[in-house]
């Protein structure tokens, strides 16, 4: 008996040492590893679709970061108002870059894994694979472009997270390194000749990355990085395109509002899609600016309202019930002007968006933007002919906007006067489209801060909510024109060094 029991116990103890070596390898039934995924074309497209889906979650960042510091749009949200008032600290809940890095992570995965899928799925041809990769390049480049314009130096991650050996703590790369990577991504994508000009579904032509979207993004990146000739060249590839289906500048004034309702217009190049019928309204432009929210999220500022109420604007397609609107059935004066381009379906308060119609798309690029970016580059390039062309481009959007043409003689004007006229036009044309702060930043930073004081004056005069002394003091420091690295990332990535202006913050 003693031997028997001893034997049983010894065998038992051996089992504990040897018998269960692989149970940790068994995966939960609802989980897949990378090795098990990436088997078919559908897998690649599913990841791309998820990346596009995540762009919806970034619209709030695109609007808050692109508008609030510019002073044309204000917010009632207490935390977002800290951005508006330049009282930004790393723990602000609206200063988080995670959503953009999630998109980058998915784009990195597509770029890394998609070629291998061709070996697994014979129906997945190289042309389709490269086309998918151009979309990934676009989404990665666009995400980094938002990050670099807001945080300046950011961690540059171009590889997917494959296994635990991958570094999770990545230091920042410089703005110029990030810009170089963005340009390389776009150049690589265009070089494949696989970027599509059209897709099967109409909405896909505007909602997925096309060759046109890559060109528009490159135009913007060139302008930001002071490559003015590059900006003109890429803009011309769009403006002078001859493809049967391509984005074109809408010349008809009466069609201006159609860009926002119903959206996906001929002028549009890339817009983030929302569809009320599919319950895709949360986080969209209408949701963020909804007329019936109390307090309202985003609305036009006092100074912007004054500009929109100017006689030369208010009764045009870009005025009342164009860019802005208000409930004229109950309000005798405009208290919080509603961003009508996201809240209206026509030229009357009764045509306000409700229910499933709260689904305006967020337009990232459209042809008027490309034309005015080209105009800005031409102004910076100087020369009477360039300036005349810039004036002509500005006049095209003004004419469509039912405003008189600029009466400027290029031989008698100055670069600053032209840039000022351009900024005023962009302010009205792209009101609340997430462009204003970057337009102002280009004015203030470029050509070695040549127009720094004009930038400060513009920000000061447009902002009616921040303490004047504080605002003046903050704007003195050009490091303060960018956002702090989010607190969570500072705490979890020991390679990060807080951005210079914010290094006093604990």
């Amino acid at each position: 008996m003693k031997k028997l029991l001893t034997t049983i116990l010894l065998f038992g103890s051996m089992l504990t040492m040897t018998g269960c070596s692989d149970y940790l390898d068994i995966l939960p039934k609802d989980k897949q590893t990378s090795d098990m995924f990436w088997k078919s074309r559908e897998d690649v497209e599913a990841v791309l679709a998820q990346a596009y889906h995540l762009t919806r979650g970034s619209v709030k960042d695109m609007l808050n970061w692109g508008e609030l510091r510019g002073g044309s749009v204000n917010t009632s949200d207490v935390d977002a108002a800290k951005i508006q008032d330049f009282q930004i600290l790393p723990n602000n809940k609206y200063v988080k870059w995670a959503n953009f890095y999630n998109i980058i992570g998915l784009a990195n995965a597509v770029l890394y894994y998609a070629p291998g899928v061709m070996d697994e799925d014979a129906s997945y041809k190289e042309e389709q694979m490269k086309s998918n990769q151009t979309e990934a390049y676009f989404l990665r480049a666009l995400s980094y472009f938002y990050l670099v314009r807001n945080f300046r130096d950011v961690p540059l991650i171009t590889e997917p997270y494959i296994d635990d050996q991958m570094p999770t703590n990545v230091p920042k790369s410089s703005e110029s390194e990030v810009i170089a990577q963005i340009k390389k991504d776009i150049t690589d994508a265009l070089a494949t000749n696989a970027a599509k000009e059209t897709y099967t579904e109409t909405w896909e032509n505007k909602g997925r990355a096309t060759k046109w979207a890559l060109l528009a993004l490159m135009t913007d990146v060139c302008l930001w990085s002071e490559d003015y000739q590059g900006c003109v060249d890429y803009a011309d590839q769009l403006i002078n395109a001859s493809a049967a289906i391509r984005p074109v500048f809408i010349t008809s004034s009466s069609q201006w509002f159609e860009m926002f309702y119903p959206g996906n217009s001929n002028e549009s190049i890339f817009e983030i899609q929302f569809e009320g019928d599919l319950d895709q309204t949360s986080g969209g432009p209408t949701d963020l600016t909804y007329w019936n929210d109390s307090p309202m999220g985003l609305y036009f500022s006092e100074t912007m309202t004054e500009r929109l109420m100017e006689p030369e604007v208010v009764n045009t397609v870009r005025g009342l019930y164009g860019n802005f609107g208000y409930d004229n059935t109950t309000e005798t004066e405009i208290l919080q002007p509603i961003i009508w381009k996201y809240n209206g379906m026509g030229e009357d308060w009764e045509m306000k968006r409700e229910g499933d119609n709260q689904d305006a798309n967020f337009i990232v690029y459209r042809m008027a933007d490309v034309m005015l970016m080209k105009a800005e580059a031409l102004i910076r390039l100087e020369g009477t002919a360039n300036w005349q062309e810039a004036i002509d481009l500005i006049n095209q959007t003004r004419t469509r906007g039912e405003m008189a043409s600029l009466d400027i003689d290029p031989a008698e004007t100055s670069e600053l006067d032209l840039l000022t006229a351009l900024l005023e036009e962009r302010d009205i044309e792209f009101a609340a489209e997430g462009k204003r702060w970057y337009d102002l930043l280009r004015l203030g930073r470029q050509q070695n801060f040549q127009y720094r004081s004009q930038f400060v004056d513009l920000v000061m005069s447009n902002n009616t909510t921040a303490n004047r002394t504080w605002l003046n003091s903050v704007l003195t420091d050009d490091d303060a024109w960018f956002l702090p690295i989010p607190e969570w990332d500072m705490n979890t990535n020991n390679q990060l060094v807080q951005n210079p202006y914010y290094d006093v913050v604990q």
Binding site: K2, S13, F86, W470, N472
Partner: protein
């Protein structure tokens, strides 16, 4: 058999347990105890109290020495008290020693060290978001009872967060290091403790006020503004110490020279003043008094207005008939904007000069006395430094009660009947309702809590009165410029006071008789107004005089007599006054 079998098993197990099991256990110990986290450090609780935290920082070691020498090291380490500590670095302290001509804190003495540390210490928490949103003075005084101000500089290309200064002299290099009992801010400079009066600030050799100072001395007003603490007696004859505060609108020699005033005699000639400069009717005296306000007002306070949408406010000065009107026009704050010869603006970089008893602000014109212009006057009937000092001295009904502050779930009460702020007569007021902790308090300073509409009262507080039927109280109003005014009052109402509105339980509806300067008698029942929102804690306004004319610019005696029998019989009876509002009536003539 059964027993034997059982015994055999027992023996077997005993042997196994005694030998084999021990062997197996040893085997398990050998193979199963690899600790994958061996060598890692685990943080259980990584925050220390303020003093302990500072002891861990080499760059602040000298300040730790000062705290220990001042016998405040342990006090700042208390777990039960929250602090915000401003700590100069070692370099900053060494520069401070150099400036003071000493080499160690011991040479300055223990009392000085104690005051120095207290001057850098708030007995409350101030996180970094609240800190950067401060406009002017910090919301809490230091433990040394001084006000600190925050300003934002423009140091070349560094501004905003990089250019935060306390008291205009100490650069804040680290914001709000969290410690278990508050926050620690690191400074690149020591803040010099305030010891000088506003008069001594005028006398600083580097200040350009020699002519203005001569004028102050000629009128002997220097003796008044040089006082920091005044020994006096309260309404019960008990000795009390009152802090004196002043705000001086100082004129530089350069500004005088621009107007051809190069000497005191030039100023006297320009004012056509007689020789009795110490007489309040003398033009020089009135001019100097016009440049001094009673109270400590930093620029942000002077640039704030009483009512929403207002852009102007009259400020009293030591010249009883001279009011300085501050007006905002296109973002610029003017004194006496509509009287061109007396118009002035603040030289902001030369303003907010702090003293132990107030502020000096430099202005850009010599600012002769301007005829006062009518302006809305909001008289918050509890807005007195004496009330603030009384609450801060711990006379509230709970320890944490603060002046003009909303507390999250507690309403504050303090008996202020002995402060001498009001003339009053209690006529058999009813004792407070059973259960009230303060049944003998009848003139009460009251602060709201955050759960009802009372928090929106002006400065979040009320004067709560229980005078009894025919009891009365008289308020001395601020100086009001002569002219016609509408007079209204904001009151508070509570559910337990609804019987007044409903004229039930012996109440006639809260009838009150008002007089101004013993005339203009008016009987009103504000609590019966249809604007009263019953069933909860709300506020309402009631017009007392549709129109009343003041024929002189002066303060007035505003008297309220209770004329409600229930005021002496109902234990829930009280009235709550937020403010009295005087709004000028502008007569328009049709052409």
């Amino acid at each position: 058999m059964k027993t034997k079998y059982s015994q055999t098993l027992k023996d077997a197990f005993r042997q196994i347990c005694g030998k084999t099991a021990w062997a197996l256990l040893a085997l398990f110990c050998l193979v199963s105890c690899d600790d994958p986290y061996e060598g890692d450090t685990f943080t259980i609780y990584d925050m220390q109290p303020a003093s302990t935290y500072l002891s861990s920082r080499e760059d602040c070691s000298e300040w730790v020495n000062i705290m220990k020498y001042a016998d405040l090291y342990n006090a700042v380490n208390q777990a039960t008290q929250y602090f915000t500590v401003f700590v100069p670095t070692n370099d900053a302290v060494q520069r401070f020693y150099q400036k003071e001509g000493v080499s160690s804190i011991e040479e300055l003495g223990e009392e000085y060290a104690n005051n120095l540390v207290k001057f850098h210490l708030l007995a409350d928490t101030l996180d970094q978001q609240s800190f950067i949103e401060i406009d002017g003075a910090l919301p809490y005084k230091t433990v040394s009872e001084d006000e600190l101000t925050l300003s934002y500089g423009e140091d070349g290309t560094a501004g905003g967060l990089q250019s935060l200064y306390l008291n205009g002299e100490a650069h804040v290099s680290e914001l709000a290091n969290r410690v278990s009992n508050g926050f620690v801010y690191i400074l690149d400079d020591v803040m010099t403790p305030l010891t000088e009066s506003v008069y001594e600030r005028l006398c600083d050799p580097e200040r350009p006020f020699s002519l203005f100072r001569e004028a102050v001395e000629a009128t002997k007003l220097n003796e008044r503004i040089n006082v920091i603490y005044k020994e006096t007696v309260d309404a019960n004859g008990l000795p009390i110490t009152q802090k004196q505060n002043f705000t001086v609108l100082a004129v530089s020699d350069e500004v005088y020279q621009k107007d051809g005033i190069n000497s005191l005699q030039d100023l006297i000639d320009k004012l056509e003043a007689g020789s009795d400069y110490t007489n309040p009717t003398n033009a020089l005296y009135q001019y100097v008094a016009y440049h001094i306000m009673s109270g400590a007002y930093n620029l942000s306070k002077l640039q704030a207005f009483d009512t929403e949408g207002a852009t102007a406010k009259n400020w009293e000065t030591l010249n009883p008939e001279g009011l300085v009107k501050i007006t905002e026009v296109d973002g610029v704050y003017y004194m006496n904007y509509s009287v061109e010869e007396s118009r002035a603006t603040f030289l902001e970089d030369e303003s907010n000069i702090q003293a132990k008893n107030g502020y000096v602000h430099q202005i850009d014109s010599w600012m002769p006395v301007a005829e006062a212009q009518p302006e809305t006057v909001l008289f918050d009937v509890t807005s007195y430094d004496a009330v603030k000092d009384w609450i801060e001295a711990g006379n509230g009904d709970f320890d944490e009660m603060k002046y003009q502050t909303v507390h999250s779930s507690t309403e504050g009460n303090a008996d202020i009947s002995s402060l001498g702020l009001y003339d009053y007569y209690l006529n058999n007021p009813s004792s407070w309702r059973p259960g009230s902790s303060k049944p003998d308090w009848f003139i009460i300073y009251f602060t709201a809590k955050s759960t009802n509409d009372w928090q929106n009262a002006e400065n979040h507080d009320f004067l709560m009165l229980n005078l009894g039927n025919n009891g009365w109280i008289t308020f001395t109003t601020p100086v009001i410029v002569k002219g016609k005014y509408k007079v209204s009052m904001q009151f508070g109402n509570a559910k337990s006071m609804d019987f007044i509105h409903n004229a039930e339980s012996g109440s006639n509806g809260g009838q009150m008789e008002f007089t101004i300067d013993d005339a203009n008698t008016k009987t009103v029942s504000p609590y019966m107004s249809s604007d009263v929102h019953t069933g909860g804690s709300y506020m309402f306004t009631s017009t007392i005089y549709d129109e009343i004319e003041f024929t002189s610019t002066s303060s007035h005696q505003f008297k309220l007599v209770m004329k409600d029998p229930a005021a002496s019989t109902n234990s829930n009876y009280r009235i709550m006054i937020d403010y009295i509002l005087f709004e000028p009536i502008t007569e328009t003539t049709e052409e």
